[in-house]
């Protein structure tokens, strides 16, 4: 029996209830995606965590008020002693203003080091709170720039084909042949004297090597979509090439790339923190989690005593990455057609 002779499966009369207002408003696919995200406990946990981090970043001046007339991203330090102080120790010198909720909760006028201090008396709590802004900013910017470059190169490559494709793909191969971390470290070390010590140098270094995966993925998705019947149909009725590309193909091909991007934000936050852990990036005392963790390297043998240097910024960083990964993972399950109906 050939395919033509197969009896067409008779479509059951639509028993599905008509789309509710939300589905009608969002469109079926987006609705299904959103529904998948809010009904999956793991992604819900991820979104709650993510919301918490966004809240912390937005409310940083309230949660940990900065010293007046100082750059809020510089962690205030309580003197210059070497030995870390345990959580709950009182501020001695240069105490920043009290957050308004402190008195209401504890009834005291004295601000304490909620999470202790690292060597050099940098306040860990302040660093964790304001570091949230740094992590969000760095993770989002690196991924966004990487996606933009990758999408541009992937689209041009697939759209023009021929030698353009050839050249772009060889360039992509070239960038993938670099040992990522080593080159990123070198590049940011080269850029640092030019751009000044700050977030910019490591961010640019990571962007330069971050786009390859996006470019490749998008290119292959476009190439497979280009052969679909609906594209052929559009071509037959005389739609212009650029319109086919941007209105018919790209919107359908972009989803896997976006899923990949959502899963990369966390890993770029890790790499960024890793670079600053190794001393590449912002000035000492900048509110950045990797920076805080690097203080632990001075106390390797006494980490049991000074656990709070590792524990607070470390757990925060893990939760931050976890929140992005949970959402990205769920998004992937929802959008991956092979996974449909398996849940």
């Amino acid at each position: 029996m050939t395919a033509q002779e197969m009896p067409m499966p008779t479509l059951a009369p639509r028993t599905r209830r008509p789309p509710n207002w939300l589905e009608a408003w969002l469109g079926h696919d987006v609705y299904r995606t959103v529904k998948g995200l809010v009904t999956n406990p793991m992604s819900v946990a991820g979104m709650i965590l993510l919301g918490l981090f966004i809240f912390i970043a937005a409310a940083a001046p309230m949660l940990a008020p900065p010293l007046p007339n100082a750059d809020p991203y510089n962690i205030p330090r309580d003197g210059y002693g070497d030995v870390p102080k345990s959580p709950g120790t009182e501020w001695k010198s240069r105490q920043p203003p009290l957050p308004f909720w402190w008195k209401a909760v504890t009834g005291k006028d004295q601000w304490v080091h909620l999470m202790g201090t690292a060597s050099g008396q940098w306040d860990i709590y302040y660093g964790v709170i304001w570091g949230t802004r740094t992590a969000l900013f760095a993770g989002l910017t690196i991924t966004l720039c990487g996606v933009l470059i990758g999408v541009t190169i992937g689209t041009l490559s697939a759209f023009y084909g021929g030698w353009v494709d050839m050249v772009f793909m060889r360039i992509t191969d070239l960038f993938m042949a670099f040992p990522f971390l080593l080159t990123a470290m070198t590049l940011s070390a080269v850029l640092t004297p030019r751009l000044g010590k700050g977030l910019l140098a490591p961010m640019i270094a990571l962007i330069v090597f971050s786009w390859t995966g996006f470019a490749r993925l998008l290119r292959s998705d476009i190439l497979s979509l280009r052969e679909r019947e609906y594209v052929l149909a559009a071509r037959v009725i005389g739609v212009k090439d650029t319109r086919i590309m941007f209105r018919h193909i790209l919107p359908n091909a972009i989803f896997p790339t976006l899923v990949l991007a959502s899963m990369r934000i966390g890993s770029y936050a890790i790499t960024f923190a890793g670079l600053s852990f190794m001393g590449i990036g912002a000035e000492v005392g900048f509110a950045d989690w990797g920076q805080l963790l690097s203080f632990a390297r001075d106390w390797m043998t006494q980490l049991r005593e000074y656990w709070y240097i590792v524990m607070y910024p470390g757990v925060t960083l893990v939760l931050f990455v976890l929140s992005w990964n949970l959402v990205g993972d769920a998004l992937r399950d929802v959008l991956d057609p092979r996974m449909q109906g398996s849940r």
């Binding site: 040992p179 080159t183 470290m185 190794m278 632990a296 049991r304 524990m311 960083l317 976890l322 092979r338």
Partner: protein, 360 residues
């Protein structure tokens, strides 16, 4: 097939030239003075000495001249006591990788000492990473959507979210600072003295193997003890990847018709999974395994820094952060070579394992 292999291998030199040219250009963004700074330590810097070094090594020449010299070396003519000697120095193609200032030894020697250390760590990690990942992935797929599956997934995704240095610091906190069981480093001081002594033969520079060949069980155990924490760290962080690929590939395979047939024949579930589903489900894992080995080998930089393990990565971190141009170039070239070759091997291997893949 042969054609494909030849074509892929022919690409390798071009890729490596591209990689080194790009990194060279990157480093040439530094001024000659910045590149010399590492070699002149006295404060205040003597401008004359700086000038002398820049002139002597031609650091102010155009980049392509310098690149050429780095590749092929240069002829140096020296006149001493009326005798003129012509000497050819340098050139990586002549086997001279230069002298590493940050490691205070020739780069070739540095690589020869450090690469086996990283390789040893990688080799000990590969088996737990891949075997553990596959096992967990299969469990997840077989128990699909049961509590076991969810636990496995959460376990994996939490591992994937752990930055290597955070996990390393936590392990060190618990098992070194806390109990003293697993110290950082590669071997203890007493063992290092024996290894450095002339009685100890370094056959491979992989300490565990050398120790066995020298019949020193105590050194073997000591080296293993130092590797426990880095291996656990690498394994846990990389499990998620193998796990996820195995799980989804296994799920897809279990939905195939031939699996239904096998079940309908009355085969036990055990046989169905082990003999029928698993071999096919492991196809994508092959590609992944190659990538994992390379990823482990080139990704150990941070792990080695955290655990104070004297491998390639730790040396690379020092070289990159102090802008030791010669060392960085050599390391990028070496790592790039491994990366590119491994990709070729993986692609070829994949075609062998999966007959559906046709290379052209």
């Amino acid at each position: 097939m042969i054609n494909y292999i030849i074509r892929r291998l022919a690409m390798v030199p071009f890729l490596l030239i591209g990689v080194t040219v790009l990194i060279f250009l990157m480093l040439m963004a530094l001024t000659p003075v910045e590149r010399t700074a590492l070699y002149v330590r006295d404060v205040p810097r003597n401008e004359r000495v700086l000038e002398g070094i820049i002139k002597k090594y031609g650091l102010d020449q155009p980049w392509y001249v310098q690149y050429w010299r780095w590749m092929f070396g240069s002829t140096v003519t020296t006149t001493e006591n009326g005798v003129t000697t012509v000497e050819h120095v340098g050139g990586i193609l002549r086997g001279d990788l230069g002298y590493s200032r940050t490691a205070s030894q020739p780069v070739a020697e540095l690589l020869a000492r450090r690469f086996p250390a990283s390789l040893e760590l990688t080799l000990y990690s590969v088996v737990p990473v891949i075997a553990g990942g596959i096992l967990l992935g299969v469990i997840g797929a077989v128990k699909h959507n049961k509590p076991t599956d969810h636990i496995v997934r959460i376990f994996g995704i939490v591992g994937w979210s752990f930055p290597d240095f955070v996990f390393g610091l936590l392990l060190l906190m618990a098992f070194y600072a806390g109990t003293g069981w697993f110290p950082p480093g590669r071997v203890s001081d007493w063992a290092n003295k024996i290894i450095m002594s002339p009685e100890f033969n370094n056959y491979t520079n992989l300490i565990t193997i050398d120790a066995l060949l020298n019949l020193r069980i105590d050194i073997f155990l000591d080296a293993l003890r130092h590797m426990v924490l880095p291996v656990i760290t690498l394994a846990y962080l990389w499990w998620a990847l193998t796990l996820r690929v195995t799980r989804s590939s296994m799920l897809e395979t279990l939905r195939q018709d031939y699996i239904t047939t096998a079940r309908a024949k009355g085969l036990s579930e055990r046989t169905v999974i082990r003999q029928h589903a698993l071999p096919n489900a492991l196809m994508p894992v092959v590609t992944l395994a190659g990538g994992t080995v390379v990823g482990l080998l080139s990704g150990v930089m941070i792990i080695e820094t955290v655990y104070n393990y004297p491998g390639m990565g730790a040396a690379a971190v020092r070289a990159a952060s102090q802008l030791d141009v010669i060392t960085v170039l050599a390391f990028v070239l070496f790592n790039g070579l491994i990366l590119v070759m491994a990709n070729v091997v993986v692609d070829i291997l994949y075609a062998y394992v999966d007959p559906r893949v046709r290379l052209d």
